[in-house]
Symmetry: C2
Subunit: 256 residues, 2 copies
């Protein structure tokens, strides 16, 4: 893990998300897993550093896995572990790790809680195919498990199933020091008005990350400024500096 | 473009999306641009093959751009072209192309439609910094333009602004032969019941792509099967075969 050593050098815990599925890339299904996992990991103090979406093509999944698992502490995949022919994630993960894959009696046992033996069609048995050496991840919703091998955590694509699996998988994930985050409402004050002063504040405070986030609502921009960092005092100090800066611009804009 | 030649070998037009912004990776902002661009390109017959989300870190943006622009016909980026210090996309794109970047009089002229000269703060002038050799992309919402250089199309992150830019940028994008898509409602019929038969249908029809998409609503799975392909007759033929297969399973399940 962290072959390049870049991401954990500050002692942080890093992760990537790999979303697998043609349906996301055609726009038929709108991904909701990246945002959910992002919020979840942020609360755990794990820094999500990258997300990728790839199609149901084995070579593409393997290539993305190899790129991400060497670079980040954890890789969370969603999608492609169901019973149909287009569910090829488990095979791709086995290939990326260079291990075999076969029906796993532990996975079958979990599935037997839901299916009668005569209902275990060959398609359903596909869901019990797990790469050698993987630990299973429980699926309280529909029983067919996810799994973890090395630093890769393989989950379903259906959001409610993925979310239940993530609760289980997260127990085995090293938590980081949570990132503190404070939000300053700049309201209707334009970014172009406070941008120079905010840049100065940011450059003077390399230990915190400062972002400015516009949204466009009812024909007007509304802006929020966010300070993030692991040192609560430094985050608070930056927040106060930004609040004072915003306040001074607001009073400039509305002379008495 | 298509240095590897993989993606256009069948004469299709391919694309990737690169979403740039810390706020997506912390989960603070939920991305809506990948899904929108995916649907938009699909309607144009352009195949979206990959999407990535990277943070506001120049080296990461440059690396992703270099990976994607060599591999796909087009790369659409969103985010990081505003007036604040964390907006670094234009500089990263210039670096990826190995060209200079400076304030562009054409971009300034567009911005002057919105701003009085005295309102052109240094922060706002940052939005007129455009890599050498780029064409501008109009921004009817807030004037500061996007741009296109080579096969990379650079747009804003705010969805309404991105969408307006995409309408403009799409005029310069080569359309592909639209993908035909037909959906078969499998309803409550479980994937595990039809999975084997569907796999057989799919293997016999390599010219179409067949996917099975479960969703979990009110404690039950509801499934849809989607056939996609560029030959309408082959898509229809596959759809009829799948409908007949689903129908036979439904009558098995409900004997008279």
């Amino acid at each position: 893990m962290n072959a390049e050593g870049a991401s954990s050098s500050e002692g942080s815990v890093t992760a990537a998300v790999l979303v697998i599925g043609d349906e996301i890339l055609t726009g038929r299904t709108k991904d909701r897993n990246i945002g959910y996992i992002a919020e979840y990991l942020t609360k755990m103090g794990v820094d999500l550093r990258e997300a990728r979406v790839v199609p149901d093509v084995e070579a593409e999944i393997v290539e993305a896995l190899n790129a991400l698992k060497g670079r980040y502490d954890y890789v969370f995949t969603t999608g492609g572990i169901g019973p149909t022919h287009d569910d090829i994630t488990a095979d791709a993960v086995a290939k990326a790790f260079g291990v075999g894959i076969d029906e796993d009696p532990r996975a079958l046992a979990m599935m037997m809680e839901r299916y009668r033996p005569e209902d275990l069609t060959p398609a359903r048995r596909r869901m019990a195919r797990i790469p050698f050496g993987a630990e299973l991840i429980e699926n309280p919703v529909s029983k067919a498990p996810g799994f973890r091998i090395g630093n890769v955590i393989v989950m379903a694509g259906v959001p409610s199933v993925m979310q239940a699996m993530l609760d289980h998988a997260a127990r085995g994930v090293r938590a980081g020091l949570p990132m503190r985050s404070e939000t300053i409402e700049a309201g209707g004050l334009p970014e172009g008005i406070y941008g120079d002063a905010l840049g100065k504040i940011a450059r003077a405070r390399p230990d915190v990350m400062i972002g400015s986030y516009p949204s466009f609502v009812d024909g007007r921009f509304r802006n929020q400024i966010v300070v993030r960092g692991r040192d609560a005092d430094k985050v608070s100090e930056a927040r106060r500096a930004i609040e004072a800066m915003v306040e001074s611009h607001l009073s400039d804009a509305k002379p008495l």
